[in-house]
Symmetry: C2
Subunit: 420 residues, 2 copies
């Protein structure tokens, strides 16, 4: 019998009525001839309420206790979901992280799943019972409760689907799929019918916050077909799947923007070997991730022979970090500015990263050039550029981000249906 995993997020279980609606959906899926496993998040607002209690008690709560506290949110919705399925005439049984042996490492508040006891799930669904799993949580080797980080229920769902060999993992959410751009910004944005894991990874990391990025990594690793769809309609959403030949015909799949980064510029640093390593080594030591890096051309004062540094050559180094990491990055820059000979430090939080993503880029040259031309045509200045095999990102002024998204979306012809 086909085996379907259905994940309901916080807004989809935000009230008892919505829990009842989700229960009916799970039952309908079962009655259509499937075995069903349901993964639930905490009721919307509950995780924040619990974390606020902890932070009201102490400014820096112990991570182990925080996880024991936060895990209750999903425990409550799992029990209520099982009751709602029973109330609608079905069979259901809830399971917590420790009961399904969702084994994780001990990195409290951001644990990673290592193994799942699939037999408990597959044995329980056999007699027509819907298995309800508390998302977001696991248990470490010592029996401590762990959580997977924000949005972790997506990862729970995909990991359970992978462990039991589910035929599909449906992610029910409050939007009806993944779009070619944010519809609030770009009225011509279209729902994408099918997208590859690789493209989804780039879009997820760029601000299309429909799916937690780690869940896409797990889905890709184990080849779990993921269906992102609306809790509030029967319409099909977006399938996130392994790539096949059909993907290659489309050059650009979507456009995303992200205002979560800030730009840091070190002015007039010594252009000598090891300077860049010193800067980014110091950031790495503080566990600060860097996204875009640009080293401007060296300003050579000319004169004596020999390497540029020996002649006192200067250059500028620009990079971006997340805005949440910026205060810590400033501390690091203050500490190392002198040793790399920087004559100035500049910070800019009014920036946005705009990206175009598409598997087709691998075989179609000229996407970057076309992107730069489109932005130039709209009078939008590019402050920095970074590229990967399947995406090109440009840093622009924050107040031009929406313009840039619309320009690129229409310029790459995404408004008209393209991929079947």
């Amino acid at each position: 019998m086909p085996l379907i995993v259905q994940k309901f997020g916080g807004t989809s279980v935000g009230t008892l009525d919505r829990i009842r609606g989700a229960a009916l959906r799970a039952l309908a899926t079962q009655r259509a001839g499937n075995d069903v496993v349901v993964i639930v998040s905490a009721m919307s607002g509950e995780t924040n309420r619990l974390l606020k209690l902890a932070h009201d008690v102490v400014a820096m709560p112990d991570a182990r206790e925080l996880d024991a506290l936060a895990a209750t949110g999903e425990q409550v919705s799992a029990a209520l979901m099982a009751l709602a399925i029973q109330a609608a005439g079905g069979r259901a049984r809830s399971f917590l992280g420790h009961q399904l042996k969702i084994l994780t490492d001990s990195a409290f508040t951001k644990a990673r799943i290592k193994a799942i006891d699939a037999s408990r799930v597959t044995d329980t669904v056999k007699d027509g019972t819907i298995v309800v799993v508390a998302g977001f949580q696991g248990v470490d080797e010592d029996g401590n409760i762990t959580t997977l980080g924000r949005g972790g229920s997506d990862t729970s769902a995909v990991a359970v689907a992978a462990a039991i060999g589910a035929d599909a993992c449906e992610i029910f959410t409050d939007v009806d799929g993944v779009y070619t751009a944010d519809p609030n910004v770009c009225p011509s944005a279209r729902k994408i019918e099918r997208i590859s894991y690789e493209e989804m990874l780039e879009l997820a990391s760029l601000g299309a916050k429909v799916l937690q990025i780690r869940s896409v990594e797990v889905a890709m690793k184990y080849g779990v077909p993921v269906h992102v769809r609306s809790s509030f309609s029967e319409a099909s959403g977006t399938w996130v799947v392994g790539e096949d030949a059909s993907f290659e015909s489309v050059v650009v799949t979507g456009v995303a923007s992200d205002k979560g980064e800030a730009r840091v510029m070190l002015v007039g640093v010594d252009d000598r070997p090891g300077m860049v390593a010193e800067i980014f080594g110091a950031l790495a030591d503080e566990n600060i991730g860097v996204d875009m890096i640009i080293q401007n051309a060296s300003v050579d004062p000319g004169g004596a022979e020999g390497p540029a540094a020996a002649r006192g050559a200067k250059t500028d180094v620009t990079f971006t970090v997340t805005k949440t990491d910026l205060p810590r990055a400033k501390v690091v820059m203050d500490r190392i500015a002198a040793s790399v000979g920087a004559s100035g430090l500049r910070y800019d939080e009014s920036v946005a990263k705009v990206s175009v993503v598409g598997l087709g880029m691998r075989s179609h040259a000229g996407v970057a050039a076309r992107m730069f031309r489109l932005l130039a045509g709209a009078g939008i200045n590019i402050q920095a550029i970074s590229t990967s095999e399947i995406k090109v990102s440009c840093l622009v002024a924050a107040d031009r981000a929406e313009d840039a998204v619309r320009t690129l979306h229409d310029g790459f012809g995404l408004g008209a249906p393209a991929r079947p």
Copy 2:
């Protein structure tokens, strides 16, 4: 090092401020040279909130899911208590029922503890860590979460104290001890300094709702000294301990009243062998507990020789059940009334059971007679009587219950300090 278990009930952890207060109390106990284990209830109102959610989903919730839901209340307070102890500079670690292997049977919503992994607790306290245990919950052989029933955290506390061989189990509550009578009814009521387990059992079952009755049974079985005291003062409360010679000198320790029962009367039933067994067997089959039983003298119509029933002898049978069981008791009575030949059924919910309790009764004759005289002197009619080795109970009209308590309390001289 002495080992102290401290249990904080729902009102004692009802707000973050009170949790902080309880945390300071635990730390002060530790700094006074003890190892400390803290047991917490859910924040007051939380268990009711959770159960209401379940009952809003379905009228008769599945007991297994109900327990998974309700157990989150104590999980939240345990994590917050651990954080509060840490915030105050201490070391703390929370444990749930499944983490301490508080093994119970599988009677969801009213499970009984079978075993506790004491080594986990004793190992953890060794380095100065305060162990915080979520009360009320356990885990069965299959890893299902169970709860111990209302007031179950008292039982958790005493059971943990017994398992680890604690020197005392302190029960912090919103009253400052056990009284000779309800101070709201009887202004001359005194706090009892020491009371035996047996007396406490009788008082607990009679409505002095300071300690859950099952916790007293466990304390008695394992000889755990229990100290019932106020969360809001430093004063000593009431010690519940094993009996010693000093207890014998006091005839009556306390007076209690209980309006939780209703009287059932079968009028004119056949006075034949097996009739009583039929009535109470039918009640037992429905799991309805019966407290007082009175069979009135048979009314013999006279005439033929032989056993009374053969001559058509009739009698009345009266008993009491809890008011919550009364609707089900009525169904049973309707079913069996004809087969025991009852000519009428009467129910009275306006009754109260008033009891005097004291170990000294075992060696002092005449307590019952003195009780009847005192009630008669106050013009209070006795509807039924039951006795045990250490208590005498009389059923009276509900509107005379307070009068009866005051009369007996003063009549037995309880107003003046008696026991050291």
